[in-house]
């Protein structure tokens, strides 16, 4: 449907080389990162060469408050194994109040997903500041571990 996804080659195909097959399964985590804190924190992790699993794909948003719960549902529908929403610590929001709304919205969202039968480990929200490269590394690593333990997400998926 939207952005006629069928037309796009899937990364699996790209790496369809034989050695790819013996790559262990790597979960796919979609991350929504606010531009001022978490995205900067992720960049810092890079600058400090902190290694973490290649499972996460960050989508840059100006503020965690820009993240619409519908984005999360859509990600799961399209086959994400986990979703992370991350922004500035309360009180540090570049837009002063955005993350307070994030907090309310996703406290509810988290519980709703759980209510619908999605394992809570698959949806996480975190505060990661621009100086917390190590925290970003640790969050992604942890989340990847947790999700690996759960295996690929089949719930809510409409792909394949």
């Amino acid at each position: 449907m939207s952005l006629n996804s069928e037309a796009l080659p899937k990364s699996q195909e790209v790496t369809a080389a034989p050695e790819a097959s013996n790559q262990p399964w790597e979960p796919k985590i979609v991350g929504f990162a606010c531009n001022w804190c978490t995205y900067a924190g992720a960049d810092l992790a890079g600058l400090s060469r902190l290694q973490y699993p290649p499972s996460i794909r960050l989508i840059r948003v100006p503020c965690s408050g820009r993240t619409n719960p519908q984005f999360i549902i859509r990600a799961f529908q399209r086959g994400a194994d986990g979703v992370l929403v991350a922004g500035c610590h309360p009180g540090d929001c570049h837009y002063s109040t955005g993350n307070y709304f994030t907090r309310r919205r996703f406290l509810l969202m988290q519980r709703l997903l759980e209510y619908m039968g999605i394992d809570p480990a698959r949806f996480q929200a975190r505060w990661i500041s621009g100086s917390e490269g190590p925290k970003f590394q640790q969050v992604v690593t942890q989340m990847t571990e947790d999700i690996k333990a759960l295996g690929p997400n089949r719930k809510m998926r409409d792909v394949e």
Binding site: S5, D43, G46, Y52, P54, I59, V61, Y95, G98
Partner: protein, 660 residues
Amino acid sequence: MRRVGVFVCHCGTNINGVVDCEKVAKTAAGFPNVAFATDYKYMCTEPGQDLIKNAIKEHNLDRVVVASCSPRMHEPTFRACIESGGLNPYLFEMANLREQCSWVHANNKELATVKAIDLVRKAVAKVVKNEPLQKSRISITKRALVIGGGVAGIQAALDIADAGNPVTIVEKEPSIGGRMAQIDKTFPTIDCSACILGPKMVDAAKHPNIEIISYAQVEHVDGYVGNFEVTIRKKARSVDLKKCTGCGTCQEKCPTKVDSEFDMKLGKRKAIYTPFPQAVPNKPVIDRVNCTKFKTGKCGICQKVCPVDAVDYEQQDELIIEKYGAIVVATGYQQFDHSAYGEYGYGKYPDVITGLHLERLINASGPTMGKIKRPSDHKIPETVAFIQCVGSRDEAKGHAYCSRTCCMYTAKHATLVSEKIPGSKSYVFYMDVRTPGKGYEEFYKRTTDEYGAQYIRGRVSKIYEKGDKLVVRGEDSLIGRPVEVEVDMVVLAVAMEPQSDAGELARILGISVDKDKWFTEAHPKLKPVETHTAGIFLAGAAQGPKDIPDSVAQAGAAASKAIGLLSKVEMETDAMVSSVDESRCSGCLICKGICPYKAIDAKMIQERVGGKMVERQVASVNKSLCQGCGACTVACRAGCLNLLGFTNEQILAEVEAVCL
């Protein structure tokens, strides 16, 4: 079908050392909408940028994706590049292959490459949905409003006015001057306050660019940066400023005496009065609460004696509405009320006074003509005890914060007392002596060494009257013994606290206050004089306790920010702002409450329904106030609020792309 160009940067080996850039480019070439894809060693270099510009022409690309480092690093660089290549700079996206891929997945080249491809696909998917954006421009009213006519307000006004901008000072009291006008001498130089403030007040009054509206208050503020519309209430002065010459006859003749606020109720003023002789404007007001004419209808002497018949009992409050480009808030502080301290007599002992009281007692033009006489029996005190941190650093009875000025003014007071009263003795009870400032520590040393003030480290637990003396009992925590001193007068260094109406003003201006009700700066370190509301700046103690030098310095800083703003004819606003699809907006305005910048407001539009024109409410975004956080877009259920550059379509496309 778009024509996207994808440019994969090796960044030397930074990216290429881990990610197979060639493979990434090749794969990208196969993506829908991608017309051209290539990789190159250094995209940000001159040749790299030329490569992009040429490709735009050769393959007539309409969108560009650069897969290199973090957009936080080079987004501006490449936007400029494609703009000079003939494209709208916003038809551009970056894929972060360095900070968020090669550098963090060095140990897994294969999956790093897979991720790199995903990130490029994501960028392509997004850029396809990008639309050309234009920065909008707003005009700026070349006039500033300064709220508060204390030393900070005056300084800010003078600086802004000297830069050639009209300035209005709105002062609550009948005269400008503020707290500094009440002070006798200033530390650490002991030069007379009036001698340095007076000239500034006169400069302000005479300045062609400065208009002083005293005895007035800001009642309402509309609009936004560059275009504030401010309603000022000029309280009825009962004196026609145009006619009045300030001769003062009315004040002499007025029969009604009232405690003078300016003299901390230690002296008297008339019912028609100027707060102090050097007042600016030096024209009186009638205090209608105490004036006999207003109370009983009789009297009316001032009107009779006024040679130019300027006295007007019928005068009404006047509302002035003016446009301003910038606002400086310099409303200062008020004194902490020490009646909270039972051990100091609940404010009931007449001879337990505050620092400002002492200032008036020392001041040559004060109620005692500069003779330090204690209030109760006008006896000259031979022994004086000073108690510091009354209401400061005391969460139980006062405030948690340090008021910053008390240590120094207490030292000053001790010095002045021993100068004015030969053979007198001063005791200072303190917690810590904090003297951070040029010449401050030296001044404090002089106070103890040359002027023989006796500093006792410890809190005072009780003050009680014994005959005509006051017994001050405390602890000397350095020797661990209780101490008792009998003195004639006690001076409390009471805390500075926000004006009681600070919260109300904050609401009117749409700025915020901190836990102690001081106005909050936009950033504690990097934006100390800005507020979260563009175009509104802070000066002086209104932002937190400050002494005169700091207030003046900050006033200058606030002024320069205001000048910078007013120096432009119009200012550019960010292109990535929210926009409303009015045809779909139902005007529920939930977005309005969520916007931290008050950028969203209701607007009425006309539309044709069933053959007749009807009015309908919709949300409308003020592009010059919107900072592009996008909070409103999520609040909007119908999704008819969208953040340009981060639209729902764009983000959904990204989600689709990375999930494949």
